[in-house]
């Protein structure tokens, strides 16, 4: 800082908001006596055009190079005045504000006290502004591409929107096929349109879209960098099937020596698949995959005289030598759409899910009623002795939701409606069955929800208010022990089938994604958004957005809406082609840094690394800041014993004089 500071102090009346309690003239006179202060004025509204003009003129006439505005909170008008002084030709960071409104005139009554305090605040501002440094905020190019993690409906929708806007999208899906949970659903409430029918076209689109690179059966290994410039590493797991050769004919699965021996993930374990398989008929990509856990050849090293699949495959697509493959690419933004896990019903042992085959979960019910399901849509259950068509069916809601005992205090938002939907579907299939729903509350808040709920009740589905305490077997029947809390009568309800309306939970593998992107969790353990109201799809990490149930339980329309929101947010840096990185970042004095790495440990953004530099012929380690990653919080600085790392405009040498002024000025 070579030039001598010339400070202008501008005390705002803010109409009477300030001047009514603070004697602004006295404050200005006081300011004028402080070192380096050339001009001190008051004005009715500093933020107004004439107010700003006043400052700009003084800058020109008096050659001011520092400006102090004593007015409202910097959180209000700092940008305004930064812009103003910049227009007048001085660095926008040569501004300091004294908050004499929110922190003074509005909270104190005594005029003398308020005036005295304002003086101090101005004095402190003078002490600091003299030592401020000029800063330039930098712009860096943004990679016009996006990464979408998870190819459920949220991921698919986000990918399609971004791709349609003309940007490259890398869509990464853990499982062999896109589609996610929605693909497993039969019909969707409240409109009852077939889930597959509306989803499949989108699945096909995202596979065929010229701008989308679909990486199925793949996992993100590493994400480095920052908004505009994320470096992504993805592991494409070996399918042992040549992706290009496979025609999806299915001969291999039919020929497999361990044909239909393994529970099908897609059918919730109710159906079976071979070791080489397609998760479900409409799977995209329609390419077979060998499950290394169940394939004889891969586990035992031999499969008869030789793997049957290899033998029957006309296309010669089977390739047991295939290895995992790492693909690396750069993107400007990331959308996390990793979805949810259904609540594991065995965590409520009192409902006997693990003990009785005819106690099933909602997801299983979806497969059971689905025409493409394991039973071809016929509702058959095994009651332990025989397979029967259930006459008496009970649904239980809020299983694993609104339940502190399993650590889920939140409402899963979809169970009320999917239970109603399933009750309706059952009614179609079993016209004379007795269907009842045990519930705590019915929350039919969405568009068409209440109407649908009414309709289901008119279809003679009984809603009984009560939270079952226990399910046990009596003869061929299951007994639901429950109290009807409306009539206060204890019931022992004998049924053939119990459907548990399980809720939604954060994915078990949440942690990996968090570490990958430095995301945090909200109390319900779902991903935390940047602001619950105003930034619901953003995260604390710039350029990383959330879509769908990974942020909290949602139904399909909400998920799609959020996906579109995330997509358009993600497209902002992509479309601009540039990202602005803050100028108020930390900087290291390498000559005093002792390379202890405390700051590296402290930085929550991994913005600091130790690098080896040559200090007059000696190799020494010093900290170095990646300005694009640094958010300027300054935690590193307070932890630096040698004071070597300092956040610009909040340096110790700028703050200590402030402290002195506040303590000393009387």
């Amino acid at each position: 800082m070579t030039e001598k500071p010339k400070v202008g102090v501008y005390v705002c009346h803010c109409g009477i908001n300030i001047s009514a309690t603070v004697d602004v003239e006295t404050v200005a006179d006081f300011a004028l006596k402080l070192p380096n202060v050339e001009v001190a004025r008051t004005y009715s509204y500093m933020c107004s055009d004439p107010g700003q003009a006043l400052i700009k003129n003084d800058i020109k006439e008096h050659g001011l190079n520092r400006v102090i505005v004593a007015s409202c909170s910097p959180r209000m008008h700092e940008p305004t005045f930064r812009k103003a002084i910049q227009e007048a030709g001085i660095n926008p960071y040569y501004l300091e504000m004294a908050n004499i409104r929110e922190h003074c005139s509005w909270v104190h009554e005594d005029r003398e006290e308020a005036t005295a305090k304002s003086k101090k605040l101005v004095a402190a501002a003078v002490a600091k502004v003299r030592l401020l440094e000029a800063l330039e905020s930098k712009e860096v190019d943004a990679e016009p591409a996006a990464l979408v993690i998870g190819a459920g409906i949220a991921g698919i929708q986000a990918a399609l929107d971004i791709a349609d806007a003309g940007f490259k999208v890398y869509l990464v899906e853990k499982t062999p096929s896109v589609g996610g949970r929605m693909a497993q659903l039969d019909k969707t409430f409240p409109t009852l349109d077939c889930s597959a029918c509306i989803l499949t076209p989108k699945m096909v689109d995202c596979a065929s879209h010229p701008n989308i690179e679909l990486l199925s059966y793949s996992e993100v290994e590493e994400i480095g960098g920052f908004i505009g410039n994320f470096d992504v590493k993805v592991r494409k797991k070996a399918r042992y099937v040549d992706f290009d050769k496979c025609t999806g004919c299915g001969d291999c699965a039919a020929a497999c020596r361990v044909k239909d021996r393994f529970p099908s993930e897609f059918d919730m374990g109710m159906g079976k698949r071979s070791a080489i398989y397609l998760p479900f008929p409409q799977a995209v990509p329609a390419k077979y995959t060998i499950d290394p856990e169940s394939c004889l050849f891969l586990t035992k090293g031999k499969c008869g005289k030789g793997p049957k699949c290899e033998e029957v495959c006309q296309a010669g697509a089977i390739n047991f030598d295939q290895q995992d493959e790492i693909v690396e690419f750069k993107v400007g933004a990331v959308i996390v759409a990793t979805g949810f896990d259904p609540f594991d019903a065995s965590r409520k042992p009192e409902y006997g899910y693990s003990d009785y085959p005819n106690v099933i979960t909602g997801m299983e019910m979806e497969r059971l009623v689905s025409a493409s399901g394991p039973t071809g849509g016929k509702v058959k259950v095994f009651n332990g002795e025989e397979e029967i068509e259930p006459k008496e069916v009970a649904f239980i809601k809020c299983v694993g939701s609104r339940d502190a005992s399993v650590g889920n205090e939140y409402c899963s938002r979809v169970c009320c409606m999917y239970v109603a939907k399933q009750a309706h579907l059952l009614r179609d299939k079993l016209p004379d069955a007795n269907i009842r729903v045990y519930y705590m509350d019915v929350r039919a808040f969405g568009k068409g929800f209440e109407e649908f709920y009414d309709r289901v009740r008119r279809e003679n589905v009984r809603y009984i208010r009560g939270n079952p305490s226990e399910i046990f077997k009596r003869g061929k029947k299951l007994v639901v022990k429950v109290e009807d809390t409306l009539t206060a009568t204890p019931l022992e309800d004998e049924v053939d089938l119990v459907v548990l309306g399980v809720g939604l939970e954060p994915r078990a593998d949440m942690r990996q994604t968090m570490d990958l992107l430095r995301l945090s969790q909200s109390p319900d353990r779902f991903f935390l958004e940047a602001h619950p109201k105003l930034r619901p799809v953003d995260t604390a990490t710039d350029g990383v957005f959330l879509a769908g149930c990974c942020q909290g339980p949602k139904d399909i329309p909400d998920t799609v809406a959020q996906a579109k929101g995330a997509a358009s947010s993600a497209m902002i840096p992509l479309a601009r082609g540039k990202v602005m990185i803050s100028a108020q970042v930390a900087t290291v004095d390498e000559s005093t840094c002792r390379g202890c790495g405390f700051c590296v440990n402290i930085c929550p953004y991994t913005a600091i690394e130790l690098v080896t530099v040559n200090r007059f012929g000696h190799e020494v380690e010093v900290a170095r800041v990646n300005e694009a990653l640094c958010k300027g919080c300054g935690s590193c600085s307070a932890g630096c014993l040698s004071d070597s790392i300092q956040p610009k405009s909040f340096r110790d040498r700028q703050i200590l004089p402030q402290i002195a002024a506040l303590g000393v000025v009387r």
Binding site: H103, P604, G632, F650
Partner: protein
């Protein structure tokens, strides 16, 4: 201590929660003592514990550091570091005989204008009871 004594308080507030909370107190016209002057920092994690000592040495009778509630830090972890560092400093200063009523730390969120008022009142009241901290003043000695 005589009631005539008005303590001088220096407060360090994080930009995102506590400073906003204090702003809210203003917009909702919550009244509190004028003894407190705020220094804005981006994060409570920025507050070098030695600031507290420095403020007391340079004329403050009490010091307050306030940040976001645990888990709410705009920078994810800054307030956790602040908590550990300032907790240590408090212990140390107490051991050398600095009245614990001279230093407080608080979590005040952007929506807690009223809590801010209470925190200020508590801080000022405690400092008033502790009295003027002449013993440690820099300028009082051979100036």
């Amino acid at each position: 201590m005589s009631d005539s004594f008005e303590p001088n308080i220096v407060a360090f507030l994080c930009n995102w929660c506590s400073y906003a909370g204090a702003d809210l107190a203003g917009t909702s016209r919550v009244h509190y003592p004028a003894n407190i002057q705020v220094i804005r920092v981006m994060c409570s994690g920025r507050v070098n514990p030695l600031y507290v000592m420095n403020a007391l040495q340079q004329g403050a009778d009490g010091v307050l550091v306030s940040g976001c509630h645990p888990g709410d830090c705009h920078y994810m972890e800054g307030n956790f570091f602040a908590r550990r560092r300032l907790g240590m400093l408090k212990d140390l200063m107490e051991y050398v005989g600095v009245d614990p009523r001279r230093f407080h730390m608080s979590w005040v969120s952007a929506s807690e204008g009223h809590k801010w008022k209470e925190v200020v009142e508590k801080t000022v009241e405690d400092a008033r009871e502790a009295g003027p901290f002449e013993g440690f003043r820099r300028r009082r000695i051979d100036w």
